[in-house]
Symmetry: C2
Subunit: 298 residues, 2 copies
Amino acid sequence: MNFKEELTGLTALVDNYLKDYFERLVSEVPETTLIESMQYSMMAGGKRIRPVLTLAVAKMMSADLSEVMPFAAAIEMIHTYSLIHDDLPAMDNDDYRRGKLTNHKVYGEAMAILAGDALLNEAFNLLFKTASEAGEKMEMFVKSSCVIAGAAGKDGMIAGQVIDMESEGRQIPEETLKTMHRKKTGALIMASIIAPAIFTGMSDDEIKALSEYADCIGVAFQIRDDILDVEGTSEELGKSTGSDAKNKKTTYVSLYGLDEAKRMLRDVMQKAVGTLSVFGEKAWFLREIAGYIAERRD
Amino acid sequence: MNFKEELTGLTALVDNYLKDYFERLVSEVPETTLIESMQYSMMAGGKRIRPVLTLAVAKMMSADLSEVMPFAAAIEMIHTYSLIHDDLPAMDNDDYRRGKLTNHKVYGEAMAILAGDALLNEAFNLLFKTASEAGEKMEMFVKSSCVIAGAAGKDGMIAGQVIDMESEGRQIPEETLKTMHRKKTGALIMASIIAPAIFTGMSDDEIKALSEYADCIGVAFQIRDDILDVEGTSEELGKSTGSDAKNKKTTYVSLYGLDEAKRMLRDVMQKAVGTLSVFGEKAWFLREIAGYIAERRD
């Protein structure tokens, strides 16, 4: 199987599910500005890396992809709400994301706050609704949802955002940088991999291996992000580059320099691939997507 | 049993649970500003009406109150997050609530947005965690949690907030006013009553009766709010009064006048009490609390 084809296929599955989901919501709910603003950000060209990872893990276990789609969709909703709130004037005050106006630039600040709230809420609404209809798989579904709820909250993504905020404009030590990324982006990537692993009944050893893998690609994702802010073009990224240096942000590049950051990226990539040995050939897509994350241009 | 004593007792149960809950979080999490700001608003003198209703319904069914406490706490967290976000400069821009500085006046806008997000997330984190440990009661717990997730989101509380926002500064027809309140405040009051009703295994007829009761006290709550904005004092309310008229807000008083609003309040109160006949004597507390809501001074 060709990696690009498989990536395109899984991304399309996610895109179509989310497209249908929000079109249905728009058609069902009479007061639609809220739903439209939710839909706007959900359909604003995200790469769907997290939900694709969810489907890929399930596929590796030969599971029914439709059964894990609620995890994938909920995680993408949580990811999207966090972007909407991060972009607000009181936070990063960004006008563009992925080349499109940010939610509050289109719908206003108040609606953007509510659209973010509603996406976070809808993620859990979808998870609880699916759990309530999961029959004999309810227990596994609930256990997997716990991982998502934990990763998104005060100990995970939001804690990371707070560290980021409190580190603004000053250089922070490596350990703080790592903790920040592990929480801010790593936690939800971890959940996108571990939730389907639990749901499909993986062994503890397999889950441990996937946890290490997830940890590595979370770090790889962030190092690549930092490199792109120096080397990428605004056209590719759909946002301004060089903003980290301008904002005196601590990054892997500011701490170690560009060459060392690239070496670290290669190392963590190799480590990610190494953790997958327990799965043999069937982990081929997870191996390839680690490379894709480390080499992406946007 | 004396109503005031019972109300004080149930409120204390909720207060102590939440106090312990957030003190534990503060002690567990090293980066504490986020948790402190969550704790600040959770402990800012809320009346705990919703969680008290949850406990009261469970008590009426002779259920173990500790089993429904996660519903009660989650609902109060959701209520509190909605207040934090409502108070933000981009929304109602309020400096005080219950006589205390609002969250963003103490912790700043960015932290207030994140504290709200984290409380919403924590509500579902608590529900999923409890569900995963609920054993044979998992199915009922998940079904009850569905009601909460549905009430808080895009079809419920948040939709009501959007209608409120879009109605700002102009008079709206009675039907819109009712829909707004039914969603903005009614939905979560409904969930606080129906979640424990489902969990404790009430019959469909009993749940239907309680739904009508919840609908009535939601309306009563709002009419009383509108009357207090005209008749109450700032000292009692801990916020400025007369703001509805100043903001040209549509209220029961602006639509019908003060006397008619009071008559409507009495009517809806009587209706609330009437719906409880199916439960006989054991619904005594729910009868009394309807009166309490209709006559409250803050």
